[in-house]
């Protein structure tokens, strides 16, 4: 990997929200690299190797215009987390590191008609029931079992499979990115190993930074859009942050391994081995694209099943106690994914493979990919804070199409390593501190709680303010956690 450290003087300040590393800064750069950040976040980014990783992405064959990182940038594998790179089809490359191991790690937001004042009386009951009822997949497997043939259907259909079997409604699919499933997924490109890993994990939350959170709407920044989304102050919402579990990880592992040979086959030279890639239209490239979509579908099916379980718990615990215990889906976004989208570059319409690694699509009003109910306001963007910190709802803006390949941030970036987090705190202290702030935490693993402590993450409100200022996505509402369930 290119070990040369990028220094502050290598970056040119474009404006209050944006820095650029010019093309000539390293000899392997094909295009410039851009970083959305303010001065403080830039310092934090320069403290690890995330900026080097951003610069390395400019070496990808077929890369177009510029690569980017969002303000929640932090060190990842190959690509920084918060990284965005577009390659030109058909010959440009696809790189599994540009999507991540957890394919379609993403977020779903459900909204109720309950006010927090009313809900707090029942909070302990509801959170306990959620902790008992939602499978985390740590130790215990999922409750929805499928055989090998049915797994292929799940991979082909995604959330549509779940709805078909009674877990949720068509309406949910209309407010899910990609309708809850890529239609060109290729289950045959997913290895038997990956399917085996996924077998026991359908409908499970997962561990690490995945969580389920009951929240209240704490602040509204845009009254009009909030109303259009059906959000009101004090409203109880539920956020689900989860991905494709072992299946996605195995798909990434399989293809990262497979593409090691591709580098020699296609004569690709890279400053970092984790950027391993292959031309999109190569046989293995097409297979990975098919497999990635299938893994993404698994994650959407998962979130659909999890949402169904949450709805069941709300009904069971709150029926008769509140007027309406129902939960409506606001939206569901992916933040580790690749998409084929069209953009105009230097006056030319180009079909591009957009890699979003820890970055979220943020289409503006008017985009044909949006459901009719959102077409006039734009795409909701869901930004989870880390455990115990605030989350945000944003709305996509035209600035994203102009500058960032339709992309915005995904959440807070980690700044403390897990090892440092563990050295610093005890789970009981973390839980007690959060309880003092009025947040109930239930986790399957004490180590997991400490490693995910809020201080370990960069300030999500800072990150969100920058993308808001840059005109990429506008703030709509802030959500405050009331109860957290962790794997």
């Amino acid at each position: 990997m290119s070990e040369q450290k990028i220094r502050k003087q290598d970056l040119k300040k474009v404006d209050d929200t944006l820095y650029e590393i010019p093309k000539g800064t390293r000899n392997f750069m094909r295009v410039p690299a851009r970083l959305y950040a303010d001065d403080a976040l830039l310092e934090a980014a320069l403290a690890d190797l995330s900026v080097e990783q951003l610069v390395n992405t400019t070496a990808l064959p077929g890369v177009v215009s510029h690569t980017l990182a969002m303000p929640d940038i932090h060190q990842g594998y190959g690509f920084p987390i918060g990284g965005v790179a577009a390659t030109a089809l058909p010959d440009g490359v696809i790189s599994p590191g540009g999507i991540g191991y957890d394919i379609n790690c993403g977020v779903r937001l459900l909204a109720s008609n309950i006010h927090s004042e009313e809900f707090l009386r029942h909070r302990e009951t509801v959170v306990d029931a959620l902790a008992r009822s939602v499978p985390t997949g740590v130790g215990r497997g999922g409750d929805v079992k499928v055989d090998r043939n049915e797994m292929d259907v799940v991979l082909r259909e995604g959330a549509r499979w779940a709805v078909k079997h009674g877990f949720g409604s068509q309406e949910d699919l209309s407010v899910t990115e990609e309708g809850g499933g890529f239609t060109t997924a290729d289950p045959d490109a997913v290895s038997p190993k990956a399917k085996e890993r996924g077998n026991d994990q359908l409908g499970t939350l997962g561990s690490g930074n995945h969580f389920l959170e009951v929240q209240e709407v704490a602040e509204i920044y845009d009254e009009e859009v909030a109303r259009a989304l059906g959000l009101f102050l004090g409203q109880i919402t539920v956020l689900i942050h989860s991905g494709s579990r072992g299946l996605g990880h195995q798909v990434c592992t399989d293809y990262v391994q497979r593409f090691q040979k591709s580098l020699r086959t296609y004569g690709i030279e890279l400053p970092d081995r984790e950027l391993v890639c292959t031309p999109f239209n190569s046989p293995e490239g097409k297979e990975y694209w098919g497999a990635m979509q299938a893994a993404a579908n698994f994650a959407w099916c998962n979130r659909q099943l999890l949402a169904h379980r949450v709805r069941a718990v709300f009904t069971e615990t709150l029926k008769g106690k509140v007027k309406d215990a129902g939960l409506r889906q606001i939206y569901d976004v992916a933040h580790n994914i690749a998409k084929i989208e069209e953009y105009t570059i230097d006056g030319r319409k180009m079909k591009l493979c957009i890699h979003r690694k820890g970055a979220t699509r943020a289409f503006p009003a008017g985009s044909p990919d949006l459901p009719p109910i959102y077409r006039s306001i734009g795409q909701p963007v869901l930004i989870p804070g880390s455990m115990g910190t605030e989350s945000y709802v944003l709305i996509g803006q035209k600035g994203s199409i102009d500058a960032t390949f339709g992309t915005t941030c995904h959440g807070a970036g980690r700044s403390l390593s897990r090892a440092a987090a563990k050295r610093g705190s005890r789970a009981e202290d973390v839980v007690r501190d959060l309880a003092k702030q009025g947040i109930l935490v239930k986790g399957a693993s004490m180590a997991g709680i400490v490693e995910e402590m809020p201080d370990a993450y960069k300030d999500v409100s800072r990150v969100v303010n920058i993308v808001h200022k840059a005109g990429i996505a506008r703030k709509v509402a802030r959500l405050r956690p009331l109860g957290v369930i962790k794997g």
Binding site: V138, D200, Q250, V256, Q257, R264, R273, S417, G448, E451
Partner: protein, 129 residues
């Protein structure tokens, strides 16, 4: 255990390449379970390919993670052989294990270089947790 902002990094050593690979596997499982408590009732055979030693190491450890997850087992003893420069055959010994405190999800190539120094091998491996 080293500091890595994304996840978990381990530095491993071995007098031979075989020992390095065995130690890497032991180190990996040591992050997830108490090795002394794992029963030795099962043997799993592993056979993988790779373009170089680094990719063989990733393939070996990845295969162990896959076996762990699908069989719900932990392994504590390992033997490794290289029948050819691009092939590895190994055996992992262990037993049924349900509760993994911090399950490792994947092995990455991040910064991976197997180095030979002062009569021994060493490598730093980064895992996705």
């Amino acid at each position: 255990m080293l500091d890595h902002t994304a996840d978990l990094a381990l530095r491993v050593y071995g007098d031979s390449l075989e020992e390095l690979f065995a130690n890497a596997a032991t180190g990996m499982f040591a992050q997830m379970v108490d090795l002394s408590e794992v029963p030795l009732t099962v043997q799993r055979v592993v056979s993988v390919e790779g373009v170089d030693n680094e990719s063989l190491l990733v393939a070996w450890l990845s295969e162990l993670l896959y076996l762990r997850e699908t069989h719900r087992e932990a392994y504590t003893r390992f033997r490794v052989q290289f029948p050819a420069p691009d092939r590895l055959e190994g055996v992992a010994e262990g037993g049924p294990w349900q509760a993994f405190e911090r399950p490792i999800k994947a092995v990455t190539f991040y910064g991976l270089r197997i180095e030979y120094q002062a009569g021994g091998y060493r490598a730093t491996i980064v895992f996705d947790v």
